[in-house]
């Protein structure tokens, strides 16, 4: 703890990842890696998973409906900014509004349900996810149903443009501005999560996770503490949704925010290590790397080698996602329940007296 040398302090996963992320655009063009585009998805999902990490990792509440908050964020962003609605906020105000709506939705879901026990709460969050999707789909007067809301504004930032210093307007064709913008958001989200983890609130999250009864005895009221976790996690998820739709300039159809998305976020947190912020970053690179980079590459290699034809069910990379996510969950739970970069205090291996005892 005491005298760690400076170089060791800097030798950290998050710093290393930040440096790599800053270097990537430079080598990407030179070596034609085509990584900038998929990395934007990685970063959006990293923010979503950071939100889930607060709820599931820090506070120990299994949440199966993160996609719902992403969807709420997406639609809050769209409705507050799209020019077919009366509000027409610019990007920055809309993102702020999105975060607030997300937090509010988190409280709305949490208020009646946070007293429930672990697996029941998980099912309630799942149900909430499904209902949100249905409502977005069916209230087509407001949400435009399956057409999605578009166009959506992109951010303007002061930058050097072709005409000298001025406002740089993002377009959907350019990849790099979005890349840097999302990287900035990830950095902010990581800093926020890290500070929250060390704050009084964060310590009470861990306390509630480790032993709710003991935490209560120490004067921590579990329900408000869980509520803050729900609200913060939901706000982060909503922001990720807002960023995502702003990049595509459309919310897409409500079916995009389905159970698979919630499970992808859960996979990220579990692969990385529940409660570990660096783990979430590594996990989102690993999971989306598999889903969005590796699978399509493998598919195209196999197609060009003539092993599968493109019409076959095995030929489409999307058709393997369920299998990959499922295997990740099952194998990780058996082999390495603490994830690749375990948090210092783990939930999965903590011996709790109330769990079912090992059977002989």
């Amino acid at each position: 703890m005491s005298a760690t040398p400076m170089w060791k302090k800097l030798l950290r996963v998050d710093v290393a990842l930040l440096i790599l992320a800053c270097l990537l655009p430079l080598v990407d063009q030179r070596w034609r890696l085509d990584m900038v585009d998929p990395m934007r998805g990685v970063m959006v999902f990293a923010i979503l998973a950071l939100g889930l990490n607060i709820v599931t990792g820090f506070t120990g509440l299994l949440h199966l409906g993160m996609a719902a908050f992403m969807a709420i964020g997406a639609y809050a962003f769209a409705i507050s900014s799209c020019d077919i609605y009366p509000f027409q906020l610019n990007f920055w105000w809309a993102i702020l509004f999105t975060a607030i709506v997300g937090a509010f939705a988190g409280v709305l879901l949490g208020a009646p349900t946070l007293g429930l026990r672990g697996d029941y709460l998980a099912i309630v969050t799942l149900g909430f996810g499904e209902i949100t999707q249905d409502v977005l789909k069916n209230l087509d007067v407001i949400t435009k149903g399956t057409q999605g809301i578009n166009p959506l504004p992109s951010p303007h930032v002061p930058w050097w443009t072709a005409t000298g210093f001025g406002m740089l307007e993002f377009t959907s064709e350019q990849e790099l501005p979005w890349y840097w913008l999302f990287l900035a958001f990830v950095v902010v989200a990581v800093v926020v999560c890290r500070n929250l983890e060390r704050s009084r609130t964060g310590r009470s999250w861990l306390a509630v996770r480790e032993d709710e009864l003991a935490a209560r005895c120490m004067g921590i009221a579990p329900v408000p503490v869980k509520m803050i976790a729900f609200a913060t996690g939901a706000a982060l998820a909503a922001v990720s949704g807002g960023l995502w739709v702003s990049m595509y300039s459309s919310t897409g159809e409500p079916g995009n925010y389905d159970f698979q998305v919630s499970i992808l976020a859960l996979c990220i947190v579990i692969v990385g290590g529940m409660g570990s912020i660096n783990g979430v970053l590594i996990g989102s690179i690993a999971m989306l790397g598999i889903a969005n980079i590796a699978l399509p590459k493998i598919a195209s290699v196999m197609q060009s080698a003539g092993w599968v034809n493109s019409g076959s069910v095995f030929g489409s990379p999307n058709n393997w996602k369920y299998l990959v996510f499922g295997l990740v969950l099952v194998v990780m739970m058996r082999v390495r329940p603490d994830g690749l970069l375990p948090a210092k205090l783990s939930i999965v291996n903590a011996k709790k007296k109330n769990n079912m005892e090992p059977t002989p």
Partner: protein, 335 residues
Amino acid sequence: MIMSQAVVSESVAPVAMGWGDVLSQQLITGVSNGMIIAMIAIGYTMVYGIIELINFAHGDLCTLGSFLALTMVGALGMEAWAGMGGTAAVVTLLISSAVFCGALNWTIDRVAYRPLRGKPKLALLVSAIGCSFILVNIALFWGGLPMEVFGGGNQAAAPKDFPSLISNENLLGAQSAITVTWRDLFVVIVTVPLMIGLTWLVKSTRLGKAMRAVAQNPIAAALMGIDVNRVIGSTFLIGGALGGFASVIYALYNNTISFQMGYRTGMDAFTAAVLGGIGSLPGAVVGGIVIGLVRALSDGYIEARWTNSVVFGILILTLVFRPSGILGAKLREKV
């Protein structure tokens, strides 16, 4: 309200239907679907009762059961089996699906759940979600089989038509306003004896006694010489087998199956199990019938597109306000 008219005109109505006929029709459909849901719900409730796991993969297990049935129909050319052959076909399908689903459920427990006994329950739940996803993907690939019944292999993700092996003829005569078909009768004929048999098994056999003992206290049961893992394994086997029966009944009743249907039917069944009081067998049956009725009435009187939300709403409200369900015994508070 507008939708309800559309529904009426769809279900072949030789005579103009009064509101009473519409309602009775929906009650009949509801009960038939409810019995199917109940059969699946039993699988959830048995597993939950014994190891407190929401066996997420159960619905998708049933999907595989109906995919197996469709494969057999295609491979053996069952559509052409006439007369008593039709009955033989249905019985063959029921039994093979039940054996398959039972064995598969036992294997899943052996591979994915048993190593996690003693770990926190959430780890088990996560593993179950993983299994569910794996099964969904297997069903997706299965749907790509180059068989005619699966659409020739290029329609993997599309819903499959299940041949109607059971007649859709109205038992009350073609002039009756209310339709009760052979299928409705078939659902009742198959499910009711199975439920009675299961109740007998749990109440009166050695295995049933062992199951109840393990559910109450696994350690005490082990000390009394019960092989806990074997009992849990047989619970999965029996629950899976019932799911297998249900999957064939579902396919024969609804005539369409898809690789994703396990998620919806599974959630309906889980809602039924929770509503009836999870861990209770009669509760699962009552819950199943209630959910079947709610679905039918919601399709008829609200709008079909809101039905899933209605079911999930019931699930959430039950969990929040009455977690022990309608018939649930006292809630065992185990964190």
